[in-house]
Symmetry: C3
């Protein structure tokens, strides 16, 4: 029967399952709109072959290597690079065998769904990965990767991607985006403005980053007005490369709407490195409101991604650096935190603020009630660890009754694992189809409406919310 169950993620009862199947059938071939993610624009710019199966599926995917590590496998054994450049495993086949021999660890996880989908639909594999199938699958995938139809642009087209957004730092020169544009290739790859390094006083090298931002824009970023002007210029530059959104990954959801003189004074302290932690937090929070004000002018959608405790293990941070699977969600409050921004600009329907959470307890208690009344606020989809069948189901069950569907923004795959993109959208479309079928089967929605909403969730809301 292959790796994929045809009715996966649908309701179990046959009547509801049949309807879910029909709903999914009506959306499964819609183009993919990927308004937020972390693919590397260089792939599409250079269109080089991906190196080998392990470097495609294991080494760069924190979901994969964190699970193996949790069972005692050193990160080095999976080829994760060390901060000091020390030795790690470099043989793709050795890494792949380790991965395959531990594939049972992914039972019941979304990684398993994504991987099996890619193995099956992208590479045509039919047998479950295991120690026994490791070499055959490695050889098969490696062979595929050597062929032109598995290069990034070919896969982009085969995946039916209508538009994909990458994420670049405020100081990025967007060279790969420029190269894509100049290549004449028609794939729509756009950027998004991520200014953490120049709005967070606690970011490594903040003062230098801000100074460099000044050089880049010809503004005196040591002054508050010059600093704001530099942001405006960079936003405009990012817009030239298709950006329709900005993205902000703070530790908390705090926003502030400070008097301008106070914000200016905080910037000065931040540049001197004398902010207290609370002042740094206030500055970050105030900058969200400034960004929202800029959005009223330039139309960029504001995304807030709070609540991750980054680099939780000091030894792993020291040895391997950032982003090694040790970012852990924390409790996050939104009601008081978002109030300054929402009181300032939340009533303006020209603005779109999309808020995400890693704290599911906020869905029904805080976020749905807020998004269900403020014109500017929309809910981002289930995020990160919650971007899973159960997580997506909880998102719908806990937000829909108060926020409805139209205050949500469709799906974000949020991934750097390129081959998982079709899988992730497929999972989202299936979970939403199942949810809608259940509403119909329990008399909470008419069938014709369910087909309309399915289109909204799979395609229309993402385009509309992100202005794509």
């Amino acid at each position: 029967m292959g790796l994929l169950h045809a009715d996966r993620l649908f309701p179990i009862e046959e009547g509801a399952r049949a309807l879910a199947r029909a709903l999914h059938g009506s959306v499964k071939d819609l183009p993919i709109v990927s308004p937020h993610g972390h693919t590397d624009p260089r792939w599409f710019a250079e269109n080089e072959a991906f190196p080998d199966p392990a470097r495609l599926f294991v080494t760069p995917d924190h979901y994969v290597f964190r699970m193996l590590h949790s069972q005692g496998i050193p990160l080095e054994a999976m080829g994760v690079p060390r901060a000091d450049g020390g030795p790690t495993e470099t043989d793709g086949r050795t890494i792949w065998r380790l991965f395959a021999a531990n594939y049972h660890l992914f039972r019941g996880t979304p990684s398993r769904l994504w991987l099996d989908h890619a193995f099956s639909e992208v590479f045509g594999l039919e047998r479950r990965l295991s120690a026994g199938t490791a070499d055959a699958s490695y050889d098969h995938i490696a062979d595929c990767l050597s062929r032109p139809e598995f290069r990034p642009r070919a896969l982009f087209e085969r995946f039916g991607i209508e538009v994909i957004a990458t994420t670049e730092s405020a100081r990025d020169d967007l060279r790969w985006h420029r190269m894509i544009r100049e290549s004449g290739w028609q794939g729509r790859v756009i950027t998004a403005y991520r200014p953490d390094a120049v709005v967070d006083p606690e970011f490594a090298g903040f003062a230098d980053n801000v100074a460099a931002l000044g050089e880049l824009t010809g503004e005196d970023t040591a002054t508050w007005q010059g600093y704001l002007a530099a942001h405006r210029k960079r936003r405009a530059y990012f817009k030239e490369f298709g950006a329709t959104s900005t993205d902000h990954g703070h530790a908390t959801a705090r926003t502030e709407d400070l008097p301008q003189a106070e914000a200016a004074a905080l910037l000065a302290k931040a540049l001197k490195g004398t902010c207290t932690p609370d002042e740094a937090d206030a500055f970050r929070g105030h900058m969200l409101t400034e960004m929202a004000r800029m959005s009223l002018d330039d139309g960029l959608v504001l995304q807030i991604h709070p609540g991750s405790f980054r680099n939780h293990s000091q030894p792993v941070m020291d040895r391997f650096g950032r982003d090694k699977g040790f970012d852990i969600p924390t409790r996050t409050d939104y009601v008081r935190a978002l109030r300054p921004l929402l009181s300032a600009v939340g009533g303006d329907p020209r603005l779109t603020v999309i808020v995400f959470t890693l704290d599911e307890t906020a869905y029904a208690r805080e976020l749905a009630p807020l998004a269900g009344v403020y014109p500017a606020l929309k809910l981002g989809p289930a995020w990160w660890f919650h971007d899973s069948p159960e997580g997506m189901r909880r998102f719908r069950e806990m937000t829909t009754e108060t926020a409805g569907f139209m205050n949500t923004v469709g799906f974000n795959d949020d991934t750097r694992a390129f081959c998982s993109i079709p899988a992730r959208h497929d999972v989202a479309r299936r979970v939403d189809s199942a949810f809608l079928a259940t509403l119909v089967a329990t008399g909470r929605l008419d069938e014709d409406e369910a087909f309309e909403v399915a289109q909204d969730l799979a395609y229309r809301l993402a385009k509309q919310a992100y202005r794509l």
Copy 2:
């Protein structure tokens, strides 16, 4: 098939659905006991016709206008009155068309269930509301409202309401309740004692309110003993008009059991307006324990409704005033907060304290364990935003295993939307029937017991807990 699915909210699997249908059949025609709500006693006193469809269904219903507002529709366009008396839409048909054209926003929400139920069961409409059906439905409902059988008392009787409680402020003269009583009409409409304005030092006009309470009762409310005596007199007065409960809507669940001298000193500061926020909170918290002590004397049931952050948007508060859909639930702790009150009086089975929550995370973690051991404590039903099919299901799933059914108090409709009352009780009875049927189908309850519990949840527990 009309607007309502006959098996709505029942389990999908046919066997469990059949049992849920039978359970619901055994309770669906029971009288409605509505022990906590916000209908206007003036309706039943004067028995005037409701003005028009928009003023019945849109303008007064914060669930409805907040959802429309969330999509950018100004509150003025729905006829919501402005604080400054400035212009808002006054044409009922215009408001209704706007509502109808946006009816798709309510897909998947409980408002949709309540509205369709009222449209269908109260007014006999058969087609889904939409731009296309707006005028016809408006005309039909308007025509109904002009007829005697749609006046408040007639609907009260048609709805099968055995008793309904309204909520009045401590200083209310209860004139409408008096008028109902003197009219000779037999409908049982009772009041409930809501003293927020005279127990919360941060309530607008607190000192004046307390002084007025003194005048009303002939007590010297500037003294602690006089203040308590005034409460006792008002409670007795409310009891004359049927009150069996008091109601308290503080921002937190904090209770205190202070020495009397300390409480007296706080009152003095509160009257002078010199309480710190923490002192104000302590005073409110202490008054809950005083109210509980008074309940031991006069038998009134104490209701605690904590956890709403009121009037979240300052611009909306400034322009439209309180209660405009901007009350947002917050995280609420109960374990430490309720301890002073529970240690003081929670062991006394003569007392009934009913606690509600807007923070569902407390159901299984805090509230069910507390209600499952303290004789005086009972759990109020799923409240406000959680008064929905998913919210009610979560309430049962997260409280029953630790608190059982008998430490809950049946259903509260808690509404000012009169026509939604039968709908809301119907939703509760269906969700409970579904829950019970699921317990039976999974071997956790015998079928004969399920029928008994269904009666408890739909009727008996509310009467018993509220002493009706």
Copy 3:
């Protein structure tokens, strides 16, 4: 049909139910591994008959007497002993009748499942307990208890217990464990090291407890090195009686990794009774890291059981003492709390730290992400109030997607209610079978894998994680 539904706790839909039945069939007769619990080793040492039905099922079971108390029944009426030795009900039959007449209170609770299972499977009763069946069931159970095949060792064997762990305080002489060993009986009853009384500066008699620990071990526990050495000796002593784990029940999950001099200074203050609450908390937290370091040497598994607010009612504490059903779960943070310990030793795969929670909001947000990456960390099963069908389901639904199955440790019955042990393991095996069947039915797991995982969850993981 008797007291037990053959397909209890399985999915309702027939296909998934059939698979759950098959999965359960494959594990239901596996031996019971009970790595954490509170049975009394004296039972197995002396092998005396249990006194009477009420003293077996009512008086010692806080789940039972707290529910009856919540409805106003005094603890005295259930024979719960008073702290002052004052009178309580002593007639077993009287207590039993009270229990039976209130058996409806347990509808929908796990206690009902456990009790019915014991009544049916252990004692062969066939009719539901009620006032009407009270005397007959009392007589029947009392008769059974007088027979040799209902003595503790006989039941231990009949229940198929492969190994059971009790929990003893650090200063316990383990006399009953010694007596079991010396008796020649082959039942495997092991101890676990619970040092709360000698690591918690706020524990009653802390300084005396530590001094006594010194005498017991011949170490000078007034010094930091002597104190640590005393722990090492006691751990070694407990290991002689089979211990494979230590257990720590702090109010919070706080850990610290202090410089040794600072820890030594805190010990000195603690012994003088001059610790502030924060210092006491820091000391407890630091001792967890010390215990983890000792575990690296001696191989004992470290269990952390945080988050209970103990003895919530002061009047009940005064009248009846500790452990009277008034321990209430509280909100617990893990991300910051566990970081010092995890940064110190969490990367070491030789160590096993098992963390439990009473705050389910941490499952998906904090605990699964932590256990899904740290080699040393594993998740304990759903605990205490959450050790129930809904609680276990939530545990799997909220942890599996991020932590997988292999970072969990099977089931703990955690009980002092001996006759409920087979019932509790049966509930866990059923709920897990249902969960696995649902994964298969929704295409998230292959059927052959489900059978393997069922073995893991019912048997293998507990043995492996606890090194049994």
